[in-house]
């Protein structure tokens, strides 16, 4: 591992001769594919974020007239959910940062199956076209991202929009599945000599667990979606009561995928946060093994809690008790993670650079989202809170603030390594604080709306809910303005002339990606790194 800037130029030699088409459309390089994924996530976030701004504008006042048609509204909420999950959070964390850094961190030259990697990206990109068709064609797909039948069967959702949305899930699912296979093969087989599993960086552990979750959960989604498509187009009745089917079956299948999916979105975030906290505390991660196996336990238990999404649906009393207890158990490994992060900071020499601010923000807000999660896990309380704004607040605290904060933490942490240019520290902090204020103002009041009993997916609401909705919409405007600050940060990064050192974070950054130049050369290592 003695790569210098000269070697860097040598390693890159020849690569840049590739044409734009050859480099970006036929890429087999994990970094280029990672960049494509991050670009996809950026586009997805812009679309999904715009939809959320439209929704918050509509909800700013009762009886508002921005969206007057319920079908349009339902199409927007559906597309917002699908795009944010499948075309923002997942490509940013798994395809984007996972592709970029997993091979580098384990000392591998590339992913195990580079062509599969490329295919996996283009499935996702095509899926995005389909999800947009699902939004814009006819009156759009209006069943919510959970796609519960019978609302999205042929009788209640005629037209092709729903078929396109379902098909987009197939494409995103195949993409994730291929990606998961690739990550598992890479991590299990391509670690550098000396890089035992128990020396592997936590981000790689996180991606490994995530990949197993994808491998086991996505086929179930694919089955459920296929059955829906069959019901819609080929006269089957898997979910049709009139033909002997059962809509509740779909709920079970969907959440058997859907609950692991939430850990798919948050485990890579855990990995990034561990690296950022350790780097800026200038300390090794506290309780490494506990941290790694906490993620394994979260992944495992995440598969046996799905029906807590169905507490007010058709499940028995004893099932309600089992799923409540199993769900609450997840709080324990999550607690291990939170306390280990704080213990990593304890005794450290903490520098509050922008990535660290996002990481600390993540930990604090994720704990709030986790606490409301414990509340919702109580089946008895869920009878009151199910599907109302308390739930909306809960899952946006863990996603819009959890996953999104971790994505930004990873972005500010690694953008120098990925682009070769550093972000402007001042504007990074402006971005953090404005986004922190914006999202909290958006989502904290929604707890109150939920307690007062405001249901989700309403374009118009009783006048009594006006106050907190107004505050929430103001918050969304601040978050939107904050995103403009982020655009400015991006512009500064890509116009910067600054040359970065290999390890621009200094002593705290110890993983292998800091041993190679910034930006990382296309084939990373000229010799196989040996880990002592």
């Amino acid at each position: 591992m003695s790569i210098t800037a000269d070697d860097h130029a040598l390693l890159d030699h020849g690569y840049h001769k590739k044409s734009f088409v050859a480099r970006w459309l036929m890429s087999t390089n994990h970094k280029d594919i990672g960049t494509l994924y991050i670009t996809m996530a950026f586009i997805g976030a812009c679309f999904g974020g715009t939809l959320s701004m439209i929704m918050r504008q509509q909800l700013m006042y009762p009886h508002n007239d921005i969206i007057t048609n319920g079908d349009t509204w339902n199409a927007i909420i559906t597309a917002h959910g699908l795009i944010m999950i499948f075309w923002f959070v997942m490509p940013a964390l798994i395809g984007g940062m996972g592709n970029w850094f997993v091979p580098m961190m384990i000392g591998a030259p590339d992913m195990a199956f580079p062509r599969l990697n490329n295919m996996s990206f283009w499935f996702l990109a095509c899926g995005f076209i389909f999800v947009l068709l699902g939004l814009f064609l006819d009156s759009g797909t209006g069943a919510g991202w959970t796609l519960y039948p019978p609302l999205d069967n042929a009788q209640y959702s005629p037209g092709v929009a729903t078929d396109f949305s379902l098909f987009s899930l197939h494409l995103a699912g195949i993409s994730s599945l291929l990606g998961a296979i690739n990550f598992i093969a890479t991590i299990l087989n391509m670690r550098a000599p000396g890089m035992t599993m128990h020396k592997m960086p936590l981000f790689c552990w996180a991606i490994l667990v995530t990949a197993f979750l994808l491998l086991l959960a996505i086929p179930v989604l694919a089955g459920a979606v296929t059955m829906l498509i069959m019901d819609r187009n080929f006269g089957t009745s898997f979910f049709e009561p009139s033909g002997g089917g059962d809509p509740v079956l779909f709920q079970h299948l969907f959440w058997f995928f859907g609950h692991p999916e939430v850990y798919i979105m948050i485990l890579p975030a855990f990995g990034i946060i561990s690296h950022v906290v350790s780097t800026f505390s200038k300390k090794p991660i506290f309780g490494y093994l506990g941290m790694a196996y906490a993620m394994v336990i979260i992944g495992f238990v995440g598969f046996v809690v799905w029906a807590h999404h169905m507490f007010v649906s058709a499940i028995s009393t004893d099932s309600r008790i089992y799923f409540e207890v199993a769900t609450l158990v997840i709080a324990v490994p999550t607690g291990i993670k939170v306390f280990s992060w704080i213990a990593t900071m304890w005794g450290g020499s903490i520098e509050f650079k922008t990535p660290m601010l996002w990481a600390i923000g993540f930990i604090f807000l994720f704990v709030i989202g986790g606490a409301t999660g414990v509340v919702l896990a109580n089946a008895g309380l869920d009878q009151e809170l199910h599907n109302d704004y308390f739930l909306i607040a809960h899952f946006h605290y863990v996603l819009s603030m959890g996953a999104a904060f971790a994505i930004f933490a990873g972005f500010y942490f690694w953008i120098g390594k990925m682009s070769g240019h550093q972000y402007p520290e001042f504007w990074g902090k402006v971005h953090f604080w404005s986004f922190f204020i914006g999202v909290n103002l958006t989502f904290f009041p929604q707890h109150f709306l939920g307690l007062a009993g405001m249901p989700r997916r309403y374009p118009d609401y009783a006048d009594a809910f006006a106050g907190w909705n107004y505050v929430s919409s103001i918050g969304s405007i601040i978050s939107g303005a904050s995103t403009l600050v982020f655009f400015y940060v991006l512009w500064r990064v890509f116009t910067s002339k600054e040359v970065l050192a290999d390890n621009y974070w200094g002593e705290g950054a110890t993983t292998l990606e800091w041993a190679v130049p910034s930006p990382a050369p296309h084939h990373t290592f000229e010799d196989v790194p040996i880990i002592r």
Binding site: H63, N69, D71, G142, Y148, P150, L151, P247, V248, S281, K282, K283, P284, I285, F286, G287, V312, S313, A314, T317, E324, V329, V332, G335, F339, S340, I342, A343, G347, G348, S349, I350, E351, F352, I360, I363, F364, V367, A371, T372, V374, N378, A379, G380, L381, Q383, E384, H386, N387, D388, A452, G453, M454, Y458, D460, Y461, A462, D463, A464, A466
Partner: protein, 304 residues
């Protein structure tokens, strides 16, 4: 007499209608002099109010129990969040680079790691015990005084009173442009569900088309309405009044326009109402607002 009684023209029309019905020997005319059996529900309106910070006032023992457990769990969780916040705040202050330039390299402390596994487990046990009791309580719908079969439709509710053969009617939201003073936009309906106070009422909930959600926040009741199957829930309303709920499972175009309104009245008033309702709600497939002989709500200030 009708919610349009502000309009002299429409009132005249209603009187003509009542006269016509009376000519057929119908009960409706006599009803105009009978006291409104649901009047007792008008004194207390349990509706959400602006800037509300907590659950609605508990309208049933079940909601009171939910309220209690919510406070119990939320106080524990506030303790957890507060502890983490203080710990993080102190760590950030005490170990900032300016104050602590030389980082320690400690990475293990077995005792600490055992503690932060054991303590959360104990907290969970403290939550699980009362929580499971609440689940059993909510599930116990045995021995009801009466059963109402609730059917969700796109986009209205249908209430069938199993103990009053033939009483089966629909309930539509009052459209925004027809809201009268005393009614609550997006919550008031043309024909509320009328229930006796103090009696155990079982809801048998189903759907005629897509999924709906039968959600009564002030009574602590929520179940999906699923076509092809029935779910049950129950309530006992503690005091006379008007209670509201909404559809809480996305059901298409007018998902936000199928609220639930319940008038809880003393048992005798309820029994009197069933007779009037039975005589007037003969058509169980009414798909548009009836020009109802039922006295309209004279609600107190809608937003309290």
């Amino acid at each position: 007499m009708t919610r349009r009684d502000g309009s002299a023209l429409k009132l005249a029309g209603m009187l003509a209608l009542a006269a016509a019905l009376a000519a057929h020997g119908h009960l409706a005319f006599a009803q105009s002099v009978t006291p409104d059996p649901t009047a007792a529900a008008d004194g207390y309106v349990n509706a959400p109010h602006n800037w509300q910070l907590w659950f609605p006032a508990a309208g049933s023992p079940m909601q009171a129990k939910i309220d209690w457990l919510m406070q119990y769990v939320l106080w524990i969780m506030l303790g957890v969040v507060g502890f983490v916040a203080i710990l993080m705040g102190y760590t950030m202050w005490r170990f900032r680079a300016g104050r602590n330039p030389k980082p320690s390299q400690t990475t293990h402390n077995t005792l600490l790691e055992v503690i932060w596994i054991a303590v959360p487990c104990l907290i969970l046990v403290a939550i699980i015990v009362p929580s499971i009791n609440l689940i059993y309580y909510e599930a116990n719908d045995s021995d009801p005084y009466m059963t109402v079969t609730v059917t969700g439709h796109q986009w209205y509710w249908e209430y069938k009173y199993d103990s009053v053969p033939g009483l089966d009617y629909t309930s539509y939201m009052i459209p925004d442009n027809e809201i009268q003073p005393g009614e609550i936009r997006r919550l008031s309906v043309d024909h509320p569900m009328v229930l006796p106070v103090g009696e155990k009422i079982r809801f048998v909930i189903t759907s005629a088309d897509v999924l709906h959600g039968f959600y009564l926040p002030s009574l602590g009741v929520q179940k999906y309405a699923i076509p092809g199957t029935t779910l049950t829930s129950w309530t006992t309303i503690t005091k006379p009044g008007t209670y509201y709920g909404q559809c809480n499972q996305i059901c298409g175009l007018d998902h936000d326009a199928m609220p639930i309104e319940i008038k809880a009245v003393p048992l005798n008033d309820y029994l009197a109402w069933t007779k009037i309702a039975l005589a007037n709600y003969t058509d169980n497939t009414v798909s548009q607002p009836l020009s109802s002989p039922m006295p309209r709500n004279q609600l107190a200030d809608a937003t309290r």
